[in-house]
Amino acid sequence: MYHTPPLNDTRPRTPPTAYNPVFSQNRFEQLRHFFLSFILLLSFWLILSGHYDVFHVSIGILCCLFITYTSCEFFFVHVGARDSHVIITRFLTYIPWHLYQIFKSNIYLAKLVFSPIHKLNPHIISFDSKLTNGLALVTFANSITLTPGTITIEIEDSTFYVHAIDNAVAEDLSSGDMEKRIANIFSPVDHKQERARAILAEESDNLVVKTIARIFTPFIQVYGLYVIAHGHYSPGGGFQGGVILAASIILLALAFGLKQTMNKIDERIINKLRSTGVFIYVGIGLLCLLLGGNFLDYARLDLFLKVGTPQARSLGILGVEIGVGMAVMACMTAIFSEIATGGRLQQAPPSSDNKPESEDHLS
């Protein structure tokens, strides 16, 4: 049952913050978050996978359960699961309108670029936004950037600084149509203004990067696990999957600071993962040797696994890839943290009320 904050290993339970997000202390609400994230991630896996037999789907369910356990609250920092279905439906109706806007300004910009007279007037405009929710601000900022001709430079306490290439584009933006539509998407969470303000105060620097990193990380991790698990059908495998998993951790470190991230993902876990991965790889190799074959001669595993030779080969490769993936992920993370800090990474000392079993939930 999910009741502890994710990846909170070495430190005592911290109050709900943006990085350690607990949207609600309500058990029912947390369960709802868990299931909604699980369904999101599993559908992502099933779209990617294309293998719908029991074996692959069960691997997918296990991987998605694990990722959901470590990071399900990442999706629900600004918005709770209770309001999310309304927001998702309204967002889906917003997309066609926004695509139309992109199309319109694309044509306008192309005309501008190819016209013989220079009418460009690049300038920076600033305006205050009435949006209070962090996710709404991020959606608005990204909508502005996606629309050709305007780029969001910075959000400072809900003041937007936008680079516009032309007066007409800037006027179009300041008419406020887009903002009104986005405010309408996020109107179900308007009553949670106090909480929204607290999060905004904490994340005022790099709001967009932090929010996007938080939403992307679980998907990147599921993708990494998918690459590991499907290494024998599609490009990729243990090494590539491990690098993608490490990239997700590096993304967190870039967005939230290396120190904070490495405090959540204990360095001891990284070391354990590294040696466990190598152990799995060498263990399978030696097992084949003991069963009378060559090193990593998977066909010999059929005696041990009691399946036919092709399945034994497939399972053996899968096992080796899991080991390689673990080792590569841990090594990449370690290399990044060591290089970024020059080898002087200060770990927070393990607190005295640390539960012993929480130490190895990653390994």
Binding site: S234, P235, I244, L254, G257
Partner: protein
């Protein structure tokens, strides 16, 4: 249809050259970073078009997704590095 995809891919390859010029000459670091980002986006589209050309779209979508993720993280890392002057 194959000729169409091939034509678009070649056109995008040609469009990479101006970006490459900006990347090599570009007076500031920011110019180079933006140029690399633009090249990455074009490469992504070219990869998917290649998938259509070789009729192995599933495989090329996997590759292009990894490319997108790493492009995003790479740009972010460079931006963080230059923003905070060497500290991450």
């Amino acid at each position: 249809m194959h000729t169409f995809f091939l034509g678009i891919s070649l056109f995008l390859c040609l469009l990479v050259i101006p970006c490459l010029y900006r990347m090599i000459v570009g007076p500031t670091v920011i110019d180079r970073m933006v140029a690399v980002g633009a090249i990455g986006t074009k490469t992504l589209v070219i990869l998917i078009l290649m998938g259509f050309l070789y009729d192995r779209i599933a495989m090329f979508i996997d590759i292009s997704m990894v490319y997108a993720i790493l492009n995003f993280i790479g740009t972010l890392a460079a931006a963080r590095y230059f923003e905070s002057e060497g500290e991450i």
